[in-house]
Amino acid sequence: WKRFKEDSADMLRHVQLWRTSIHEVEGRFGNGIRSYFAFLRWLFILNIYIFLLMFVFVCVPTVAFESLVHSGVNISSNSLNGNNVSAECAYNPYDPNAVNSFSQYVIWFFTGQGFMEKTLLFYGYYSNSATTIFSDGFLFYYDIPLAYLMVAFFYFLLTLVLLVRRAGAGLKESLLSNEDRFYTYCNKVFCGWDFCITDDHSAELKHSSLKYELQTDLEEERIRLRQSSRTSKEKWILYTKRFFINLVVVGILVASLVAIFYAAQYALGNGDTFNNNFMLDLIVTYLTSIVITVANFIAPLIFGFLIIYEDYSPAFTIKFTLIRTVFLRLASVVFLYVVVYLQINCKIRPNCTFCEGVECWETYLGQEMYKLTIMDFFIVLAVTLFVEFPRKLIVENCSCGLAKWWGQQEFSIPENVLDIVYAQTIGWIGAFYAPLLPVIVVVKFFIFFYLKKLSLTYNCRPATRPYRASRSGTFFYIILLVGFVVAAFPVVVSVAILEPSKDCGPFRGWTTMFYAITASIQTQPGWLQSILWFVGSPGFAIIIGVLLCLALYYFVALRTAHKKMISLLRDQLTLEGKDKQFLLSRVTKLTK
């Protein structure tokens, strides 16, 4: 019975996390900000999935097997490759017997070194053993390196599938609403009010959102008129301005990357020396993170300032600022990765084949990601508490000129979206090198949601420039997809090509991390092996490639056909309108 279906769909929507908060935000601040919070919620749930995957399949077995060894169950763990590293090359980041000051422990907690390195948090802790438990005639075999790799592969795959589905759905929606350029105003005015609303609060929200939508549409139309009415001379001036501003933007990007390069080199070189000065130690180890965060902080402000002179429509302004800032942020993360990689191929200690200063480069990367996450979190927290709240207090209570010029805070969507995309990209890379990092990211996003909502309600005024937001919602997911590719690429490269450290982590001793899979394939029965080898061979890839190209061509052809159909139907509609006009005039003439 139809009513039951509708009621159950309603109820499912009710159960959604944070539904009331997001609904409130929508009513008071419009669709754009609502899509930001919906995006944050989606990422929060995604990170919970990733964390569960990693935790259940890698962390729990590691811990369980270790404790089972002591409990007398018939369990044996064998290292999967026999190479033993000589004592002077062994990986030993932390000596539990040495006496360390309390401040040392605090530093280690925040930088992930020392005692933190020997915990589940980082890659270096996990063993490369396969465990067999034999009890009551039941054999349980668990291969940790294989599990690690498969889980990583799986969470990337899961993220990709969910992301593409979401971005695709959003894209379809935005395409549909784009086509519906007919009668938008009439639709909004005459069919805008939902007669089913019974609740006072919902009615208020509906009133505000209707007002915002109408204002948004009108504003966009005004801007479009202004753009089309530019004279030729104005256009030339505008284009030269845009050209120079883009040059400046590129210059800023390059400068930030160079700064990050030097900071990373310095930190890598001096990261191990501990003076007794607490603050100095902390700053040296956090140097890369500090430089990255400062660059990411200042550059968007400059971009936001510059883009006003470029005179784009509000929707495009947001997208363009987003693209520029995305470029900067993701480039910094990738750059960091590249710098660490370059350092791996550096000076080599005789007799040992790893570098001075970086014995376990995966753990080092994990530590960098850990530091970046923490730094990012504290910066956002600090900015919200120490800049936004006082700003509100000053603007409200003091009526001096400075306060009036500064004005009340406006919730800047591009920046906040970038913050979370950036945090998520670090989370993805970090999840491979520091398996417990997703849990930190989950907690961070949880706190972010309430922090941002609080800051929004108390500090911010509604946007003075309303803009079409549903398209921005899809745009966020597309940006996230870019972040995902940026995160996945280095990890895939390191799994397939880079040599894992000799003495730490689940892949020690092998030539590449991917060898875990090849090794386990070799233990499978012959027929399965030949199938898997075929799947991995170039021939198979070519077949798949050709099939995908054919499918793509088919869909493109379908799309062109549909587009033609749509324009034909649209023409029919206008003709119909003209017919009615004609008939109406005939009727009036006849009745006279």
Partner: protein, 187 residues
């Protein structure tokens, strides 16, 4: 249920359900709602009229910005005070139900939006509609309102007389995807 049954004979129920889009059960359900509006008067005399204020207290109509217009167009009262008898009320609920055809809804929607009741939607009417829609949030500025009016006329006014006749209104609304979903009240 039992008490409501005693208010109507079988024939009356049959008649009501034939004349509206409701089944007999639904007619009785509507009557219950009607009783809730003004218990004492209705229990005494089921043919009495309930005043407009009391009808607009109904949860489904309370927050509706057009509730007074709705009451007025369905009211068959001689002194045009918007009061509704049960038959008017049943009529209203029937038009707003899911089973009512689109054409009927469009007709009544036109009447609701026609504030000055001249069978045409002119600029004055549309301005009222828009200001009712924005309600609590405050109304649009003057120039925005003018721009909006211009756009609506551009979209819908086919004979360029600066007002929308029923035919033009019907043409626009029947193409609108949201109309059926918005213009209904579920009891």
């Amino acid at each position: 249920m039992g008490s409501a049954n005693s208010h109507f004979t079988k024939d009356e129920l049959q008649e009501y359900s034939e004349l509206t889009f409701f089944t007999k059960q639904e007619v009785l359900h509507v009557f219950e709602k009607f009783v809730e509006l003004d218990q004492d008067n209705v229990n005494n005399d089921k043919l009495c009229r309930v005043s407009m204020e009391k009808v607009c207290q109904m949860p489904e109509l309370k927050v509706n910005p057009f509730n007074d217009r709705i009451c007025r167009i369905f009211s068959t009262s001689q002194n045009f005070d918007g009061s509704l008898s049960f038959e008017d009320f049943l009529d209203m609920m029937s038009v707003f139900s899911d089973q009512a055809p689109k054409g009927l809804k469009v007709e009544y929607a036109f009447k609701v939006y026609d504030f000055n009741e001249d069978d045409l939607l002119d600029a004055e009417d549309i301005e009222m509609v828009v200001s009712r829609l924005t309600g609590y949030a405050g109304s649009l500025k003057d120039d925005e309102m003018q721009q909006l009016l211009k756009n609506i006329m551009q979209e819908a006014d086919l004979d360029n007389d600066d007002q929308l006749s029923y035919a033009e209104f019907e043409h626009v609304i029947s193409k609108s995807p949201d109309f059926l979903n918005s213009f209904r009240i579920r009891l």
